[in-house]
Symmetry: D3
Subunit: 246 residues, 6 copies
């Protein structure tokens, strides 16, 4: 199974980290390609960068998804997830949606850790758009940029553990999700210090993408996810324009 991972950011550091974590959890027959966005933000952290990344993501998928059996959108805002599901005939998974849905099966209410207060509302809107706010026990913000670079993570780890444990003891969370593609692989490192299961999006997303690829769902023939009709589209990359020319 060929899994295309798109990181709509242009930061190669994060993409490499994602790819490593993804390969570490992928099933034996899964072949992973990880790509950066061709334009837009180095690391998305604002609503405006997200607006650009919506375009960058469908542009990138138009160029490369025809060689894949499934797509994982490895930006924790699950950018362009619904558009990608419409545009492509193969399953598309977002890392935050995947982590949340996987968490639902571990039982109980979910605690969510977010990196940076500025983006908290964006995550809350995302979870609400999935209709999953009912499953959220509470939110915690960790202010640290350490995970976005190599180097000592001990302080960021301590903050993350404290946030997670606070969700458990104060908000009665029974599972914790760490948002952010850079959290890929981090739960394994911190799990001993947190009393309930901890999940990250990339680990869950790779597996859910494999699952959906195996399930081979039919392309809808009705509704908002049906194949794109012929449409007039100008000023965009050829591959993307071609999506509307069938």
């Amino acid at each position: 199974m060929r899994l295309l991972i798109v990181n709509s950011n242009t930061s190669a550091f994060v993409t490499a980290k994602i790819a490593d974590a993804a390969r570490a959890v992928a099933a034996p027959g899964t072949d992973i390609t990880a790509l950066n966005g061709l334009f837009g933000a180095h690391v998305i952290g604002t609503r405006t960068e997200l607006a650009v990344a919506e375009h960058a993501t469908v542009d990138l998928l138009a160029r490369h998804a025809h060689e894949a059996d499934a797509v994982l959108i490895a930006v924790s805002y699950d950018v362009a997830l619904r558009a990608a599901r419409e545009m492509l005939d193969i399953p598309v998974v977002g890392i935050t949606e995947a982590a949340l849905l996987t968490a639902c099966m571990l039982g109980g209410q979910i605690g969510v850790v977010v990196f940076g207060a500025r983006v908290l509302p964006i995550y809350q809107e995302l979870v609400r758009s999935y209709g999953l706010q009912r499953r959220v026990a509470g939110w915690r913000v960790v202010e640290s940029n350490a995970p976005y670079a190599a180097g000592d993570q001990s302080q960021a780890d301590a903050l993350t553990v404290a946030a997670a444990q606070s969700l458990v003891t104060q908000d009665h969370a029974e599972v914790v999700v760490l948002t952010g593609a850079v959290m890929a692989g981090v739960p394994a490192r911190l799990q001993d210090r947190i009393d309930v299961p901890v999940l990250d999006g990339v680990s869950c997303g790779v597996r859910q993408a494999e699952l959906l690829a195996a399930l081979r769902p039919v392309k809808p023939r009705a509704g908002s996810y049906a194949r794109l009709p012929q449409r007039e589209m100008s000023g965009v990359g050829d591959a993307l324009a071609a999506q509307f020319g069938r």
Copy 2:
């Protein structure tokens, strides 16, 4: 007051229709400029086109909003509304949000008419994202492309009236919103045949934009709508890139 109206579509016909309707309802001192998107769909009708329009909208606003006192996003999906509010220091209004909030003040539950079944779920997601689904009495779909071109509108009008009246009699709607920028000015033509107030987004949006411009709300200094920080951004138009360079 200088009001910038952006229609993220590239269709000049719709933009002209919007501009005419906007000028017809604007207050005496309001000076209106209406612009099309520079790239993307002729008329947005799919999720993928919306993803492109997110970028096209912030690109357009980065180029032109510095000359305005308020912005009206005149695509009924309210595309890039939150990003625009973050990026700019002036009020930004979306036509569907404006119509819904205005409808709330006319009392009771709102019936919503949507043009085309394919886009119905997108509008439902939009209304839910505003936390306004509680105010919606029901939805009706009209299948007609007539409003997107000049020519006889009598058949489309009849379908629209029937949809609205069905919302009143079956779903007990007490006010009706016609979605779609092309519905600008249409309520006046149909009101006699519909038993409750009928609103369109452009008429409401122009007025709400004037209202917010007069209110002169402060630019947030905290949260997800605070001024953009300096960020690395590549491969986008200069004006847009410059937004991140302050």
Copy 3:
């Protein structure tokens, strides 16, 4: 445009304060009349006083609204708002509803400041009745009667600023509404010390009333806001009784 402002309280001090603040924000052509209730509470602060004010408000409107183009109910419980919308053929706006809906267009979740713990549940019921609880980030109570009299407001101001900032930093509010008609004009004084836009009901309500008057919505011919039918009504003021005699 003739705007009738009714303060269902019998306190002339508050009404004068409202009228001043309203005139300060009204558009040039808006002619404002502000009236007190003829019976009931000096300043409404209990559910029982509200029950009386429901009657006092429709009584007052029956006497005076025929000379107006729109009505603003300037009691922050939006007392008799739905009844007034039914009884009259002109738009009616409530100050708290107006502030909340205006806040929705500034983006994000709303923090609400209430004066007095006793009335907090009443405001929470009000917001819920509008279907807007989803948009509320949190509530804060300020215990101070200072705003209801002339004199030094510095202590009340400090409490209000602290409440608002706590909503921003703790509950991630992205806009703050100060309830209470006596808060008219206060946001301008406090805005510098609060990191997100602060709104009061009178400033928003005057403008929304102007907006609706310009929109000239049709009187519903169906539903719970249709014109009053002939009904037997006894023991009330002549003007009110006459509303049922058409």
Copy 4:
């Protein structure tokens, strides 16, 4: 136990019907007094009449409730219910709230029958204000004035049965509530023709009032239902004014 039943309407016919039905279901030791409102609508059917009835109800209770152990508000809009609970030291029950809560204990989702489309939104707002909309399977409107007068009820009965059965078969209601004080005692007549339990507000309300009187709940010393403080109140009946003079 002395139960005061207040019908905020001025119609003696309905009050007599209520009193008969109430006495038929009351426990042996329950002594029932049923009173009409002293001013306002003959039979409440609009929002404006409700606004007047809010006042009429607290006025009536201020005059008579001191001789009672519990109060039943026998207008199906549960008019002034919260105000009465605040003003009095004894339990107060509303007939629609009582029917809904009793229905909850019979299991499953509740079907609600309303008499007249005009008032349907008012009932929907009422149920929502109780936080009970989740328990409602669906609504049906019966258009008939027959129950408000003596005479043949067979046609109204047939419509009511059809509405109830439609709620069972179409909306999967597992219990049905007939709103309207005039439905007092009607379920017994129709139950054989409806496949799930049918309840009316008066029968449930009398019993819930007896239950609460036996429970003897303490008067709150905090919150919005605490005893009325001393307040300035003018232009109202002496008994009502006296409530604020303690």
Copy 5:
């Protein structure tokens, strides 16, 4: 009226306490029988014990309910409540549901006190299953086993009072429910120290069961509570198997 109280626990201490409290509040003509489960947990405190208790409860009811006019399930998880309502032709009440519904009639939002953090999520799921989460102001956990044995209760009482008062002052609860069958009769002892009405499930449940027995609701002939059809059932007690043999 013959009331059967089933405590699905096997602990005779708690059952005796329940029976005493029930008889103290029951109406003169109410004859109470209280029974323990025949198998399962001493005192239910985990999800697994609840799963067993579901069976133990319907088993016990199949043996004994034919001699009763109503049933009270006196385990605060309201175990097997819906199954019992289906299986039997007489009313069945759960103590926590009864307390919550009774609390709704005392006005305002409900504070809920739970004994033991481990079971908090189970109660939250229960309240949500009743669609009553909207009425909950907040939750507090008391960690104490004292109520499950004879002996000094002063420390447990102090913790309970503190929890209840915190719900009043912090979460603005206007009525408090103490969960747990062992709280039967406790509110009377603590009410003086808590500012809003305090309810326990057994006191409310006995009365609501009497009320429903007097109401004599018809057995549903449709839906999920209709009489059990003939079904193949093996490996269970004879009385329970016989329920499926009609």
Copy 6:
């Protein structure tokens, strides 16, 4: 990976059907054991049978789950799912939860087909307990027992297709879930005749169980899913009793 599938029914026909379908979709290394409940209903179709099955399921798991790496509860009511998650140290998946969560990743609102009107409310309660009602576009009931036996399925298939297509065209469902363990493998047969992806619980459940087994979530050390404490438990099978003796 060893997957234990428990069908809490005692019907061997359904269990065999489930096991066949499960093996058809399982990954190469997955070793499947499918077991029936030891007591209770032949095929669960009432609330009372479900109460018994709660016990039968934990009893069966206590006997057999120690030899497994994950458990799939293959009764579409997901009976005892939460208890099993608490009792065991390995992942436990319910087929309906698995189908719903998988459906969420295919985008849009979910249509749900239920077999038999009697059980519809039970499924609605289940979905609500997962907090997933927001994702449900609508429900359809098919009345047919054909799937529970060998023989011609063409009529049942036609009803199922009609129900699914009605969900697509009327309720705008964008994915359809067929509830019922006997629907295992049916989607493949019907997909050509339904315009959106169709899922069954067993196919999704096997894969989600494999996914969770690979993920190896830690056993919670806090909350309602933490390992069972030592408890007094009587009158149950030895294996089940032993779960409480650690």
